[in-house]
């Protein structure tokens, strides 16, 4: 049985990881803060994937690629990266820095040919379309630009473009911890033929579980650095596995620990 996934979203801007609330950003800490408060190697056992988004307005921030590489070295789960992708070279740099998939947003609307080129080169499975919804409208570019396309039609359009997955976010619930916007989510995903990751509002394990129990939801995500600090993600995961049976994988962190540097200790051949 194909499992569902729990995804952690990290929002990065000019040296800092950010807490977003309704798409307004607040600085939390740098990569050292993340490594201290969110030991990535350990926390990855509570996760199935990581998404890293660069929301900097300074284009081509080299440091973002370095951060991405550092994360990719630490964890052995798929990493998706994005934020501000405007050209093919942006995508190439992300893949070269360890991304397994890229997250695209504005170009879905503004540059469908670029989307086509990305998909033709890297395959549908490498492309996540991020869709931000507020008040039944589609918003682009960190929710600063509203477009005049019905969310349902927008979904149809991007599915036709053969994106691999959709990351569906509620701008109103973003960072609130009030739970996912199921009314919005249900109105869009009932007949969606590609996997959907839901986002925006999860504040605790119960919210994550509620999302995972929806038939058409392939993954739940949270970007809430405050609500899931320390071991609370792994506690939430354990509770989800206990109450939902086989929805998520149980990872064996002790086995992982035993394998570290295994071949350094022996002389082979």
């Amino acid at each position: 049985m194909l499992r569902k996934r729990l995804i952690f979203v990290l929002i990065y801007c000019d040296g800092f990881f950010m807490q977003s609330r309704n798409f307004s950003l607040q600085k939390v800490g740098g990569i050292e803060w993340i490594e201290e408060n969110y030991d990535l190697r350990n926390i990855s056992f509570a996760l199935d994937e990581i998404v890293v988004l660069n929301v900097s307005k300074n284009k081509r921030s080299e440091e973002f690629y370095e951060v991405l590489k550092r994360i990719a070295e630490d964890v052995f789960i798929p990493i998706s990266a994005g934020g501000g992708i405007r050209s093919f070279i942006d995508v190439v740099r992300l893949f070269e820095s360890g991304a397994d998939k890229v997250v695209i947003n504005k170009i879905l609307y503004s540059n469908p040919n670029l989307v086509k080129k990305i998909i033709n080169t890297y395959g549908s499975q490498s492309v996540i379309a991020s869709v931000d919804i507020k008040d039944k409208k589609v918003l682009l570019d960190s929710a600063t630009l509203e477009i005049d396309v019905e969310p349902k039609d927008y979904f149809k359009n991007i599915i036709r473009m053969k994106v691999g997955e959709i990351l569906l976010n509620s701008v109103e619930r973003d960072g609130t911890g009030f739970g996912y916007d199921f009314e919005m989510i249900n109105s869009l995903i009932s007949s969606c033929s590609v996997p959907v990751i839901i986002s925006g509002g999860a504040g605790n394990g119960k919210h994550l579980l509620e999302g995972l129990l929806l038939d058409n939801v392939s993954a739940v995500s949270t970007a809430n650095l405050f609500n899931f600090v320390g071991d609370s993600l792994s506690v939430a995961r354990k509770e989800i596995i206990k109450s939902s049976g086989e929805l998520l994988v149980s990872w064996d962190s002790r086995l992982m620990g035993r394998l570290n540097n295994k071949f350094q200790k022996h002389i082979y051949g």
Binding site: L2, R3, S44, K69, F76, G164, P195, G269
Partner: protein, 203 residues
């Protein structure tokens, strides 16, 4: 221990390198040079992308005959990951029918069941073949990260362990010195790390 990741210009190999590093492998080399492939203790054939373009690249790097010699004649252990697993088969019908490296009696074709998404993506359970060296000391069913729309078919005993996606398909195979995994062990946390460790230890 010298592990050479065969670099033919396709696939995200950062995580494969990272996994070998985590395991403490001292020589991890990304290369398409003959001398590296010849002097390697183990080979890893990675791959993301389409079968025809991968075969074209392998041919352009003049790697087909050297790989055949190492694997078939010198019985050098090789692990094919995802597309790499498919490339070691006889042929694929992805796009146009293309001949593969032919190490394994198998052919590659797409998922045709239209009720399911033709892309199989996510963590899914592999049912262990009792004799499996790759899955040694893992649970009877173990989860791995899949992302593919083509699969290997074989009527021979190639030590296959199966996964179910609209019917059973070959999740991994292992025959003598040759191992292939449809999934990505380098993205499958503890299970994947154990599998790569098993490959190094038992092949």
């Amino acid at each position: 221990m010298k592990v050479v990741i065969v670099d033919y210009g396709m696939g995200n190999i950062e995580s494969v390198k990272g996994a070998l590093k985590y395991l403490g492998v001292d020589k991890i080399i990304l290369s398409n040079k003959l001398e590296d492939i010849r002097s390697a203790d183990k080979l890893i054939l990675p791959g993301v992308g389409s079968f025809p373009s991968a075969m074209k690249n392998i041919k352009n790097f003049a790697l087909i005959e050297p790989l055949k010699a190492e694997v078939n004649d010198f019985k050098k252990p090789i692990l094919g990951i995802c597309l790499g697993m498919q490339l070691m088969c006889k042929s694929s019908n992805e796009g146009i029918k293309t001949e593969g490296l032919g190490f394994i009696d198998g052919d590659v074709e797409g998922f045709l069941d239209t009720k399911l998404n033709t892309l199989h993506v996510g963590f899914d359970q592999v049912k262990k073949n009792d004799n499996s060296r790759l899955l040694h000391n893992l649970d009877e069913t173990a989860d791995f990260y899949f992302v593919h729309s083509y699969k290997v078919l074989s009527n021979s005993d190639i030590g296959q362990s199966m996964c179910d996606y609209g019917g059973d398909f070959i999740a991994c195979y292992e025959k003598d010195n040759i191992a292939g995994v449809q999934f990505h062990p380098e993205l499958s946390q503890s299970n994947g790390m154990k599998l790569i460790s098993n490959f190094i230890e038992y092949f």
